[in-house]
């Protein structure tokens, strides 16, 4: 293990320990926030599909939201692992960490999805900029 990796591990453990030993009122608030985030993601995907009249049973959205929030948390751990002592992140290392979470076929699909979305956002931002 290199010095950089050891420091990254230390930051992960610190992050875990702090959350574990949070004061009870902060802990309760964290649970409320977490549950609200899952519920919000679930309701949004359900609403999106309802708008185009192609909704699934509620349980499918609940599972999708749980997976999404859990993946976000797992990526956060990767970010801590890839962070320097000054809190900066090595994006190359972070991307490697994210890629290692997934099977290669799915990672490519995920990247395609993100690329399409970011392209659409750029187009939307440009369009809004032109309108001003």
């Amino acid at each position: 293990m290199t010095g950089g990796q050891a420091k990254g591990e230390k930051r992960v453990w610190e992050w875990i320990r702090k959350a574990k030993s949070a004061p009870p009122d902060a802990k309760a608030e964290i649970w409320v926030l977490y549950d609200a985030a899952v519920l919000s993601v679930m309701e949004v995907f359900k609403r999106v599909d309802e708008l185009v009249e192609c909704a699934l049973p509620e349980a499918a959205y609940a599972i999708a939201a749980e997976i999404g929030v859990a993946v976000a948390e797992a990526v956060l751990t990767g970010a801590l692992r890839s962070s320097g002592e000054d809190g900066s992140i090595s994006l190359g290392k972070l991307t490697d960490e994210i890629a290692s979470l997934f099977q290669p076929w799915f990672f490519l699909q995920l990247m395609d999805r993100l690329e399409v979305r970011s392209k659409m956002w750029y187009a939307k931002a440009e369009h809004e900029g032109e309108g001003k």
Binding site: G68, V71, A72, E73, A79, L101, L110
Partner: protein, 147 residues
Amino acid sequence: MSAGRSNGSQKPQNEKEKGAVATESERFREWIEKPQNPPPELKSKLWELYDGAELGLKETLKRMDELVGHALDDDIYAIVAEIGMAAAEATLPFAHRFSREDGSVEMSRFLEKVADMFSSWAFEALAIRLKLWALMQLAERLGVVGP
């Protein structure tokens, strides 16, 4: 898929299977096509909803870490939320693929497919915070650690 299975006794079953696959594909295509071609006013609403959820997830994770005095850069939470939302969205096509004509979802096939998305170690590690806290509560109950 093995060849030479088209004997008379298996034909009805194969046709039934083909019919089920066609139905799944149809439902899947329909789901993809519908959001691609909604009326313009609906499309902007879809974007607003999606952006709202992503911002909510980003701010929530950031707030959770701030509460324990361990927040990272803002950009990191944006990346994390983006990946999380994309992963959630990417599981839905599988739900559609394994949905039946009555709209119900074949959960075991759906969950198998979700598990396939991840490296096996990562699938085990999902819901990291939840698992750690559950372990901590168990440890407290057992008196291994305590406040």
